[in-house]
């Protein structure tokens, strides 16, 4: 008996429309392009936060304030945020398509993934761009040293 295995990442054929964007193909390309960029961004993130100096022991509000007042790290973190959440959300969507057996559970899980990804992208982006490194009334020993000169 012979059987034909469909080419992976083929578009769904439930609709018969002739033309249109092959979103599965673009998702496939996105995973590879974003993946390469994320290797650089996340390895850099881990190196600066966990390897330099005293690593995880040095992390606190003042450390984050030093990074999030630097445009370089703001751009780095926002690009990493968007690329990683969409990469992870699309990966989770693939697993749901593979393992969730009923149409309704697939729908619920994919809506949950979409809501999580969109809300965390909005939250993270707002945090980076509205961050106040020297909040009024904060104890001087908890904020960065540059707050004294304000």
């Amino acid at each position: 008996m012979t059987s034909t295995i469909e080419a992976p990442r083929s578009p769904y054929t439930r609709s018969t429309k002739k033309s249109g964007v092959n979103w599965e193909k673009w998702g496939w390309i996105y995973m590879r392009v974003s993946g390469v960029v994320l290797v650089v961004l996340i390895f850099g993130h881990l190196f600066v936060n966990l390897m330099i100096g005293e690593g995880v022991s040095a992390l606190n509000f003042a450390f984050v304030a030093g990074k999030l007042t630097n445009p370089f790290w703001m751009v780095w973190d926002v690009i990493m945020l968007w690329l990683a959440l969409i990469h992870g959300g699309n990966g989770m969507r693939t697993l749901v398509n593979d393992y969730a057996t009923s149409r309704i559970s697939r729908g619920i899980l994919k809506v949950a993934i979409l809501v999580s990804v969109v809300s965390l992208i909005v939250l993270g982006t707002l945090v980076v761009f509205t961050f106040d490194p020297c909040p009024a009334g904060a104890p001087a020993d908890l904020v960065a040293s540059f707050c004294k000169s304000l």
Binding site: R32, G35, V36, L38, V39, I42, F43, L46, L50, M51, E54, G55, V56, S57, L59, N60, F61, A62, V64, A65, L68, L81, A84, L85, G88, G89, G91, M92, L95, S116, L120, L123, G124, L126, V127, T130, F131, D132, P135, A138, P139, L142, V143
Partner: protein
């Protein structure tokens, strides 16, 4: 009559009782795929938590420092070793997948051992330094 690997024709290969071991079925191809999925899911759920904990910098320095102090405990320090191990595997195996797709699939097995080798080297560089940072404070 004993058969040598070189004399098996394609018919004998496909009717063999042992799985043929195609790109994603059996052996290194399958296990790298399984590990890629497991590490991917683990990293995704950590990412959700990590964005929420970092968002506490917008609440107050005290709130952020209280949560980040949990990341500095010995147990979480070991958790960070697992997290970085998962990320490094997912990163290197992801690059391996790209090479399989765009370069040449016949090197997938040797590339898997390259991934394992690079993972070991990276973890040898990270783990001792990280554990000193965690346990000396």
């Amino acid at each position: 009559m004993p058969q040598t690997a070189g004399t098996l024709d394609s018919q004998q290969k496909t009717t063999s009782r042992r799985p043929a071991g195609t790109l994603y079925r059996g052996n290194t191809g399958m296990w790298s795929w399984v590990l890629h999925r497991i590490t991917g899911v683990a990293i995704f759920f950590f990412l959700l938590v990590h964005i929420l904990d970092t968002a506490l910098v917008r609440v107050s320095p005290e709130a952020y420092n209280a949560v980040i102090a949990q990341y500095q405990t010995p147990i979480m320090g070991l958790g960070e070793v697992a997290l970085v191990g998962a990320i490094v595997f997912h990163a290197f195996n992801g690059l391996r997948i790209i090479l399989i797709d765009f370069w040449n699939a016949k090197y997938q097995r040797v590339l898997f051992y390259v991934v394992i080798g690079l993972w070991v080297v990276t973890m040898l560089g990270f783990v001792p330094r990280h554990l000193i940072n965690v346990f000396s404070h």
